[in-house]
Amino acid sequence: MSTTTPTGPPAAKADARGGRLGRNTQRLNEIGLIGAIVVLFVVLSATAPGFLSVTNQLAILRDAATIGVVAWAMTLVIVAGEIDISIGPAVAFSSVLLAKATGEWHIPFALAVLVCLAVGLLLGAGAGFLRARWGIPSFVATLGLWSALRGLAQYMTDGLPVPLDANGFLDVLAGSILGIPTPAIIMAVVFVVFLFVANRTAYGRSVFAVGGNAEAARLAGINVSRIRVILFATTGLLAAVSGLLLAARLGSGNGGASVGLEFDVIAAVVIGGTSLAGGKGSLLGTLLGVAFITVIGNGLVLLGVNAFFQDVVRGVIIVGAVLINVLLSKRNGARSA
């Protein structure tokens, strides 16, 4: 059994697909999602009256922004192996803060907006600091925020909406620019920024490294604590932005708004193929996840499904989508890993 034949081709010039295993799975997932969204579109345009109308499509864009603006930041949080569940209350709280600041506290409007953003950022950074400095799991740190901010927002308003005086800025936020809903434009801009940050900056790549192996990242000289604080500061900031959009849309600050928003956001990220275990994920996937969830929500309303039952349907669809995603990556993995 002695052979000394020349050996096979060196690995270096082998097959160009080489090894991008994670990416392949990601691609598959994205193609699958696009397929699912197309199917949804076809089915809904046949069954749901008015689904394809321009008004409805613009409404979908507007709804997508409610989830999307925060979902981009959430993608990085989850890639880093963390989670932020404080989104819904943070959004509601920010809307209340704006209404209170401009109304009752007589703070000039522009300053009030800045205060809202700053407070959102600091609250997020605070949760991140608890995680980074004392190792409090981010689920717990943001669970604290989730409870405290909802409570504070309701307490400050006695559970009633606080009306906002209309002004030009709010009108623009609530309205459209060149026919496109302003929130959708903001969502798109933030998306592009995050796409860039995630792939082309040291910060973005460090987030992936921390999620992939925090200890290795630390030993390679990455300031893991700093990254963690920034991550939660960004979700906090973008939740505040969402809060401003909400306030503009409702014309009031509303402590009881955005219930369960965090779950839509997290679901969109996870459906998009980002792993809750960290280290792996894509913003493009999240974009598709946001589209998927928003279209389903819109369709269920148009089809006149009972409001309570809508939640049941959505729950089943979300878990189903993630299950397919997991099975896909398993199959792909089994073939090549």
Binding site: T3, T7, P10, D15, L219, A337
Partner: protein, 497 residues
């Protein structure tokens, strides 16, 4: 020997990964009572063959059999039930659990539905005693360090009383005394009729433990031959596919410059008044047995651990102990001994794993420059001959030795002045070892300081300009230049107080 003696077999086995054929038309069989060594360069396919035989991977074509049962469609559990126990190359213990819990992972002894802690601890003590190792079975595995963990893995495999025992580089982080114990255990179980497959890059060890050796190269079996009659030169030539270069005698050049990094009277859990001087322009070896404080010394020097007392000076200035980030910023770099837990980011590409130590170098005004990343990574991949399908291949899919080289490449990228290398040749093949030594020499000649920790005294004696011997957390001897002789270092390292 009759065919009924064959315990495990692969027939015409082929296994492909994206971009690589890890096994190509392999025929392999191992019999009862035989200790078979698997030899080959990094990435030759040794671990892949082992994973196929343990049910962790499945062949694309061909057949794998254990005791006549085809492994097609079987998982690791099913294969374990056939009597196969495997120690994988990468440690696979739960660090937070105790040694005893890990030894019985997933098969904890129970009585009336509850865990039987007493039986578990007794069984664990017996398992450790069987391989002749004294480790507290109640301590968490994470507290043990690589060597201790490796011993626990071996004890776990042996305790399963397998018919086929597979050991993938079981001794890569062990020092001479523990290696001796492992070899004795393997010989004993083989005499009881167990078939053993043993992977190692250390030829002297192979000679002591194995009866026969199978040489693998680029996924093919080159030859199977009796170990006793084959010369090392012959075997290495088969592994490499070419005759190995003659080793040039190395001239030792201990540096006379003032130390760039020095420590005085360091005291911590494992350190006990440690003094050490690291000079630019030389390779400083740190020798010592398991638990002598080698890793702790590096961690203290680089600021990962904060010693209870003592002083550390960098370029003459006292530094705050435990200031890791500041030390990196001032030109230190360290490769950790446990590459999977502390070294690699498995899902990221080899390229990003390398440049991660300094992303500014590959950025232009804050934006990462893909081209620069590719160039920097390519240069280092070539320089260290890292075998990877592409620069962007996830590093977790590389063979162990190649991962190790990439982690070293990281600090070459950062351009550190002081390199602290904890077992940098762990799991690295003969040729690659030489490449790593050459790199260390180049760095030293370039005026940098290299600190080299290894449990293989042979390589320390071969490569270093100066060697400090640690015992019980203290530097007990220093040899420099021509004072360095293998026997002397060995004697000093294992001498009792």
């Amino acid at each position: 020997m009759s065919n009924t003696d064959v315990v495990a077999e692969v027939r015409a086995g082929t296994k492909r990964y994206p971009g690589v054929t890890a096994l190509s038309d392999v025929d392999f069989a191992v019999r009862r009572g035989e200790v078979r060594a698997l030899l080959g360069k990094n990435g030759a396919g040794k671990s892949t063959l082992i994973k196929v035989l343990s049910g962790a991977e499945h062949l694309d074509s061909g057949e794998a059999l254990v005791r006549g049962t085809s492994l097609a469609g079987l998982g690791t559990r099913d294969v374990a039930a056939l009597g196969v126990a495997t120690v994988y190359q990468e440690l696979s213990l739960v660090p937070e659990m105790t040694v005893a819990e890990n030894l019985f992972l997933g098969a904890w002894p129970r009585s009336r539905g509850a865990l039987d802690l007493r039986r578990m601890r007794a069984g664990a003590k017996e398992a450790m005693a069987r391989i002749g190792v004294d480790i507290d079975v109640d301590s968490p595995v994470g507290a043990l360090g690589s060597a201790g963990q490796q011993l626990v893995e071996i004890a776990r495999a042996v305790a399963q009383r397998p018919t086929l025992l597979i050991l993938d580089e079981p001794t890569s982080s062990l020092a001479a005394a523990e290696v001796r114990q492992v070899i004795d255990v393997v010989r004993t179980v083989a005499e009881q009729g167990v078939a053993v497959i043993y992977v190692s890059h250390r030829m002297d060890e192979i000679r002591q433990v194995a009866d026969t050796a199978t040489v693998v190269r680029d996924g093919r079996i080159v030859e199977t031959l009796p170990v006793r009659t084959a010369s090392t030169h012959e075997i290495v030539a088969m592994m490499l596919g070419t005759a190995p270069e003659a080793v040039a005698a190395r001239t030792r050049r201990p540096s006379a410059e003032p130390p760039v990094l020095s420590a005085r009277a360091l005291v911590s859990d494992r350190l006990n008044g440690l003094d050490i001087d690291v000079r630019p322009g030389e390779i400083l070896g740190i020798a010592g047995v398991l638990g002598s404080g080698r890793t702790e010394t590096l961690r203290a020097l680089v600021g990962l651990d904060r010693p209870a007392s003592g002083e550390i000076r960098l370029r003459g200035e006292a530094v705050r102990p435990g200031a890791f980030a500041a030390m990196l910023a001032r030109g230190l770099g360290m490769t950790p001994e446990n590459r999977r837990r502390e070294g690699i980011v498995p899902l990221m590409g080899v390229d990003e794993n390398i440049v991660i130590s300094d992303l500014r170098k590959v950025s232009r005004s804050g934006v990462l420059d893909r081209r620069a990343i590719r160039q920097a990574a390519r240069a280092l991949i070539d320089r260290l001959a890292i075998k990877t399908a592409r620069p962007g291949t996830p590093i977790g899919t590389l063979s162990g030795g190649n991962q190790q080289k990439a982690v070293l490449a990281r600090w070459l990228h950062a351009g550190s002045d002081v390199l602290l290398l904890d077992e940098p040749t762990r799991g690295v093949d003969v040729e690659a070892k030489r490449q790593i030594y050459d790199q260390m020499r180049l760095l030293a000649d370039d005026g940098r300081a290299v600190v080299f920790v290894s449990s293989e005294v042979e390589e320390l004696a071969d490569v270093c300009d100066r060697i400090v011997v640690l015992r019980g957390g203290r530097a007990v001897a220093e040899l420099s230049g021509d004072e360095i002789e293998l026997n002397r270092v060995m004697a000093l390292a294992i001498a009792e107080e």
